[in-house]
């Protein structure tokens, strides 16, 4: 296996939102793992993908343990901004525009963090909390269901 193959595997993992890949054969073993604070702002967290990413959008999830970071003692626990509706998640008001928020963005309750489109209606979703975005959990243009975590926020003290 050469660097080209490894890059191809990483690409496939990213495209299919796979977080861990392991391959073992004669005298050779490779393990690739994408961290929860991956380089890709649009990476989906473990909970959203079943171990077998099937052809459907929402394959019934097996109870996968999320990769939890040991809590940093001096900071309040992160909270999720969850989807209040079913639709398609967009990070920006239009395809050419900048995303509403990114990792590191400060938000307050009225900040629009994303758009969820349902039946041709673009719904602006507000943060409803004060804090800083630590993760973007859904890829742009992907469908979301009710209650699905969209962003991780470190709330302001």
């Amino acid at each position: 296996m050469d660097l080209k193959d490894i890059k191809a595997i990483i690409d496939l993992m990213r495209k299919n939102s796979i977080c861990e890949f392991e391959l073992e054969k004669e005298g050779f073993k490779i393990r690739l793992k994408r961290g929860p604070n991956g380089q890709n702002a649009g990476a989906q967290p473990d909970e959203q993908v079943g171990a077998n990413a099937g052809p459907g959008l929402f394959t019934p999830s097996q109870p996968v343990q999320p990769m939890v970071q040991p809590p940093k003692p001096s900071q309040p626990p992160e909270i999720d901004i969850k989807s209040p509706m079913i639709g398609t998640f967009y990070r920006a008001p239009s395809p050419e525009a900048e995303p509403y928020v990114d990792v590191g963005s400060e938000v307050n309750p009225d900040t629009v963090v994303c758009i969820i489109e349902a039946m041709k209606v673009m719904n602006e979703i507000r943060a409803e909390v004060r804090g800083v975005v630590t993760q973007v959990l859904v890829e742009n243009g992907k469908p979301v269901e009710f209650g699905q975590p969209l962003f991780k926020i470190r709330p302001a003290e």
Partner: protein, 468 residues
């Protein structure tokens, strides 16, 4: 006589379904998914947060959470169902029973969004939109209806004059009522005056529609219904009757086919009632599966009650004696296929009984008994069918209905079906919650039930005897 096609244009073309969304939960969602799998159609389950561990979610190819536990915030949310249907890119929605299955607004929105609704068109639903309108349509079709008012009664005086004409006792019924609710019995003018006003208020509060009508009250009639299937090209058949007289507070407990009353006493009723059912369906230009309900008195007189515009809980017994998958027929019809079964092809054979198993305590006034099923073992063997969504370790949520399964037995004759049902009920092992299994067994053992001599007063009489 096939009439010219009058349904919405979108349903006139034949469309192969690749994916169906099931807008329901529990055992019926599992039932629908099973037929879809057999037909090679992909399935999308929707669920509230309380149903994340439910069987239909696990069985479907995809599952989408549509809201918090309350039905009003999930299974009844048309906007969320349509959004889910859109993002999952489904061809059709099966509404099951209850929830939005008879909601013409939902049927219409599906039509507008180019999603096929597996059920009657919104027009057909409108033609049978409430009990009073359906009564009038039945009359027009020449089918006997219980003596009563022409349509709704708009005043106390009108109610009194109708009662005077038809004679007491009378029923004041909410036009939008259902499940045995929204009915009051009046035995004379004084009670009628009182009932009329309370009935109207109650109807407004419970059903959002204060319309009421007046009908003769039959004491302990027999409840006999006919399953019909109609395509979108005017072909209509009936699949025989179901006797659903074993009820408690107007909730069915046990259903069977054929009806012992018809088999033993009034065999010619089957043809007459079947024809009447078809006439009503034809006049309403109804399509998909439906059930025409009648009441029959002890003298063999039958009267139309209403049409249930959906697949029904007790459909399995008809499937067992006819060999026809009714859900599959619904799907084919929604695809635009013509009905390939003619009336002459329908030959019910043998006898089938269904017992509804509810998570209720029969010894505590049937109080619901939600909670975790610690251990579950369901009956099996020859001639036994279980339609259920529960399993060992499953927690029954408290906010939906208490039906946890349906036990169906089939036999070559009624005796065999009863013995088999009794045997099967005895095999049930459900630990952790209370169920009605033993109560059903008591009914099965009752001599009158076994003789096939019972009416809608049966369960009350049994309960009264038991408490003495």
């Amino acid at each position: 006589m096939p009439w010219t096609f009058r349904n919405a244009p979108s349903s006139s073309d034949t469309l192969m379904f690749e994916k169906i969304l099931i807008a329901n939960r529990g055992e019926i969602a599992v039932r629908i998914i099973r037929t879809c799998k057999e037909m090679g159609i992909k399935t999308v389950a929707v669920y509230s947060e309380a149903d994340a561990d439910s069987m239909h979610v696990q069985m479907a190819d995809e599952a989408i959470c549509i809201g918090p536990p309350p039905s009003s915030e999930s299974y009844l949310r048309i906007d969320r169902l349509i959004s889910a249907a859109e993002i999952a890119d489904v061809d059709a929605i099966h509404p099951g029973y209850g929830f939005l299955s008879e909601n013409s607004h939902f049927s219409e929105i599906c039509e507008k969004c180019n999603i096929r609704f597996i059920g009657p068109s919104s027009r057909a639903m409108e033609a049978l939109r409430d009990k009073a309108v359906s009564r009038a349509l039945a009359r027009k079709a020449g089918v006997p209806v219980p003596p009563g008012s022409e349509g709704t009664v708009e005043s106390e005086e009108e109610a009194l004059s109708v009662a005077k004409k038809i004679g007491y006792p009378v029923l004041i019924k909410a036009v939008a009522g259902g499940g045995g609710r929204g009915m009051r019995i009046a035995h004379n003018d004084i009670s009628l005056k009182k009932c009329y006003h309370t009935a109207r208020t109650e109807a407004e509060t419970c059903f959002g529609n204060s319309g009421v009508y007046v009908e003769r009250y039959f004491e302990n009639p027999h409840h006999i219904e006919f399953q019909i299937i109609a395509d979108t090209r005017g072909n209509i058949i009936h699949l025989g009757e179901r006797d659903c007289s074993i009820q408690r507070r107007h909730q069915k407990l046990i259903e069977e086919t054929p009806s012992p009353l018809i088999e033993n006493k009034y065999k010619d009723l089957r043809k007459k009632m079947g024809r009447a059912a078809i006439k009503i369906i034809e006049l309403a230009q109804y399509n998909s599966a439906g059930t025409v309900e009648f009441i029959v008195d002890d003298n063999g007189n039958f009267y139309f009650l209403e049409v249930n515009k959906r697949i029904q809980v007790e459909h399995p017994i008809t499937e067992e004696v006819t060999g026809i998958d009714i859900i599959k027929q619904q799907i084919l019809i929604a695809m635009g296929e013509p009905l390939k079964i003619s009336q002459g092809d329908v030959h019910p054979r043998g006898h089938a009984i269904e017992c509804r198993i509810n998570a209720e305590d029969p010894y505590d006034d049937f109080r619901p008994s939600p909670g975790r099923i610690e251990m579950y073992y369901q009956p099996g063997g020859r001639g036994v069918r279980v339609d259920s969504h529960v399993y060992s370790g499953y927690s029954i949520p408290a906010m939906y209905d208490s039906l946890i399964g349906k036990l169906i037995s089939y036999g070559r004759d009624r005796r065999e079906a009863i013995d088999r049902m009794s045997r099967a009920l005895g095999e049930y092992l459900i630990a952790g919650i209370k169920t009605t299994v033993q109560f059903e067994q008591n009914i099965l053992q009752d001599p009158d039930f076994r003789r096939g001599v019972y009416s809608t007063g049966f369960v009350d009489q049994l309960l009264r005897r038991g408490s003495q």
